[in-house]
Subunit: 208 residues, 2 copies
DNA sequence: TCGTGGTTTTACCAATTGGTAAAAAGCGAA
DNA sequence: TTCGCTTTTTACCAATTGGTAAAACCACGA
């Protein structure tokens, strides 16, 4: 037996274990992001992964274990751009670079965006700790930084928290609501238009 | 038997039928908006409605029937604000009024917002016709109107479709991601800050 | 009072779903 | 080749879930 999800023990996972866990997580990301937690069945994940259901349960303790593992693994990637805002940099440039990274991520990692969106819409039942202990301090810090920039007159005055919400909302919209965007933009090049738009939006908002 | 969901026949629904259908739809909105279609069980709806499961199936043909009925009923309410943009009005004022109505709706009808969000994130499997035949013409029309306003120099140049997306995104964010917003805004008055912020955002973007 | 219609409950299903037990199959080192 | 381990498959469950059949209940006009 090779229990894989314990906390303290790390009995070196074999090559084949690493590979199959990766395959399963990849398949699960596909399915969870499209159907949400409850909408996803282990059979769907198994089929997408090309493995049998019991075989999947050999690598993960259960459906929830897979989901939580995904959430944990993606959280950092998702928050990294926020961490990279440089307090010493040029304010407008820093914020617009953040916006650019976020919109790029929406087109590059739409499944990850939808995974989080599904979870948060449904009251974030498995993300409480992440929001409270991971995201909140980061947002508080960034909001304080933006407030300083505003006081120094280097950024036009806005509520920094609502600013952050709006950046998330406008950029992730392209991933989360892709089905709607696709219908309404039929044929048009969505990504380049989106990049241009959000740059304009926040440039006009924040230029002092 | 009083089959209720047929298309052509309308054998006058009794008072009690109207009442119970309303109760069921209200309960279903609660549950569907919080758990999504697949995440919702008929038993949950039944309990929330204070009726037995078979009794619910006496009023609706099935789970999907309830869901579709909800979607249909809410579509109009949801699109009305867009219809009320007055082509003869003052452009900036008209758009800002639309923004205001949308943000107000997010706080007044968060369940409705989440119901749609859940559906669209999961590829809108039951909303294709609504998007194509209901929403798209309206958006095309509004985009054309905004383009005219831009050409006349009464609104600063932006891609009107991305503008519309961003209005939806920023306003509905407060309903759809309420769990996240609540954590990050702990204690603060979210609504009034949101109203002020989006007004500022689109005023600065669109003022010529 | 008795029907007669609409309404509600009780008692069930069959299918799906997350999960398990245990046998079978691989497979690398000695 | 064989031993001992990991990995995979086969054969199952018990609970849940959407849905149905039919009996029971109820309201109200003749």
């Amino acid at each position: 037996m090779a229990q894989a999800s314990g906390a303290g023990n790390a009995p070196k996972p074999s090559r084949i274990q690493q590979k199959n866990r990766r395959i399963i997580l990849e398949a699960a990301l596909d399915v969870f992001s499209q159907h949400g937690y409850r909408g996803t069945t282990l059979d769907q994940i198994a089929e997408q992964a090309g493995l049998s259901k019991p075989n999947i349960l050999y690598y993960f303790a259960g459906k929830e274990d897979i989901h939580v593992t995904l959430l944990n693994a993606l959280m950092d990637t998702w928050l990294d751009p926020l961490r990279e805002i440089d307090p010493e940099g040029e304010p407008l440039e820093e914020i617009l670079r953040y916006v650019r990274r976020k919109v790029d991520m929406s087109f590059e990692f739409p499944r990850e965006s939808r995974l989080f969106a599904n979870e948060i819409i449904q009251d974030a039942p498995r993300m409480g700790p992440h929001l409270e202990r991971g995201l909140k301090p980061l947002v508080d810090e960034t909001a304080a930084l933006i407030d300083r920039w505003i006081e120094e007159g280097r950024v036009a005055p806005v509520d920094p928290r609502h600013l952050i919400f709006s950046i998330w909302a406008t950029t992730q919209h392209y991933a989360d609501f892709e089905a709607q965007v696709a219908v309404l933009m039929e044929g048009r090049d969505v990504q380049s238009g989106a990049v241009t738009f959000v740059d304009t939006l926040y440039r006009r908002l924040l230029t002092p």
